[in-house]
Symmetry: C2
Subunit: 129 residues, 2 copies
């Protein structure tokens, strides 16, 4: 899986990493049960600090997307386990709201937003590799 980090971005490295791992799961590249690289291995691979990767993994765990087994490793949780938990929709829709508000203010209409939504979903749903 190719991960591209931009150190110059205003988005923190650990957030970029978190988002790309989520995308990796969404696309099916990282499947349920899959082990993630160790924090040290991935840090070395990406050229960042171990603690930065660790922070990303814990963010993913907080979101309920992966399980961190102490002294062992991190694993993508089964889809059913993830979806069983409550609070996901609230968190995500709360993040969605300001984006939609801005879209409307800059003149995008419901059709355009829906079209892009579908485009993103189709793009992610294409299982790569």
């Amino acid at each position: 899986m190719i991960i591209q980090l931009e150190p110059q971005s205003d988005i923190p490295i650990y957030t970029q990493l978190t988002n790309q791992i989520i995308e990796g799961i969404a696309t099916g590249f990282l499947q349920p049960g899959h082990s993630l690289p160790s924090v040290r291995a991935l840090a070395a691979d990406l050229g960042v600090n171990m603690h930065t990767v660790n922070k990303s993994y814990h963010e993913l765990e907080k979101k309920g997307i992966i399980s961190i087994i102490p002294k062992s490793g991190a694993v993508v949780r089964p889809r059913k386990e993830i979806s069983q938990e409550a609070g996901h929709a609230e968190r995500i829709f709360a993040a969605l709201r300001p984006v939609i508000a801005e879209a409307l203010v800059v003149g995008l209409d419901q059709q355009q937003i829906e079209k892009q939504l579908i485009s993103i979903i189709h793009d992610l749903k294409e299982i790569k590799s």
Copy 2:
């Protein structure tokens, strides 16, 4: 217009303010041509620092949503002026992508996301006062 800031939030105060002003414009509460309060007045009203409000206004200006007239004040830009500018869609859809990816990973399907999208739009489109 009621603005509620949460100092304890992980979202910076100036970002919260920016988002709520955008919502205010989306709902029609703040209409094109409307003057925003002076940075001092709003800061005093909200109980935050002048520079925090100033940063929010400049964020809104950077997004192309308001005009800051030096030594005079800040004004909501006309809708046509805003939508004429390029780059809006790219910026917004880039912000949309990680949210959608997480939604899919958590088990939300296209229908549910679309339903919520429409719900948010309808909620914002209701002109309040």
